[in-house]
């Protein structure tokens, strides 16, 4: 690709790092969601019911 001539490494590094960080952020949020859903359904299965919050 001709645009990688010259300062291609810098461009690749900038885009690569952005993809890495934003990908990790997205992955973290998705993983958290799975974990929380599992914990919630486990709690509900064990018979704890939500009542109006204390306080």
């Amino acid at each position: 690709m001709e645009f990688l001539s010259g300062h291609g490494a810098y461009i690749a590094a900038a885009y690569g790092l952005s993809a890495l960080v934003l990908g990790a952020l997205t992955g973290w949020i998705i993983a958290e969601r799975r974990k929380l859903r599992r914990a919630l359904s486990a709690l509900e299965a064990s018979g704890v019911r939500r009542r109006s919050r204390p306080r």
Binding site: F3, L4, S5, G6, H7, G8, Y10, I11, A13, A14, Y15, L17, S18, V21, L22, L25, T26, I29, I30, E32, R33, L36, R37, A39, L40, L43, E44, S46, V48, R50, R51, R53, P54, R55
Partner: protein, 266 residues
Amino acid sequence: MSIMDYANPSRFLALSGRLLPWLTGLTVLFLAAGLYMSFFTAPADYQQGQTVRIMFIHVPSAWIAMACYTLIAMSALGTLVWRHPLADVSAKAAAPIGAAFTFLALVTGSIWGKPMWGAWWVWDARLTSVLVLFFLYLGLVALWQSFDEPARAGRSAAILALVGFVNVPIIKFSVDWWNTLHQPASVMRLDGPAIHYTILLPLLTMAIAYTLLFLTLHMAAMRNEILRRRVRSLMQQRADAAQNIAADAGQGGVGQNVGQPTEQEA
């Protein structure tokens, strides 16, 4: 009372659940278009050559970094003034995301600076103010993490966010002052009058894409935070219930009740 209609976390979960797929789709669409444009339709700049393409992700990151802090400050007002139950969920969810975008603005700026300025880091006024903004984000995240109880952390973090927000313009002003004192000639000016539309269009598209991405991530993180608090309160309920049963069972026994307060403390 229209704001209060959405104050109910359950209603927020339902509404955001319906919105989230659309937001995600839009984000992907704009990201794809923006990336295509920034690599294939945007020409190389006559001064900066190909590295101008870094601008298409650097400027939107910086824009989100600032917009996110504004959002946190507004949420902080919501927490302190209206005690809106979702406000501190919003602020807490936004802080790490904003920190990530600020970090990206710094890193892409630094990578862009190397071929332009010949150094990975120059104490340019903008880079420096964004660095201080990054520190403000780190402080917020650290404060959130230091509290065990989300409700208690919410008010403290809101105060910190507002104090930081008041200080951002002062910091910006002082860094600008400091910078002009030390390096009078600016090496590079982005905000020149003539940005050609072949550069402007991909930049705008990427800015919209990043905004959508931020909104998507923020909404998803808010949903997570609500779930996290539910799990927390359920766990507490279960622990309370177990303690009550133990207390009932130990009613006749000696020593059972004596040990309990310390258990609760721990």
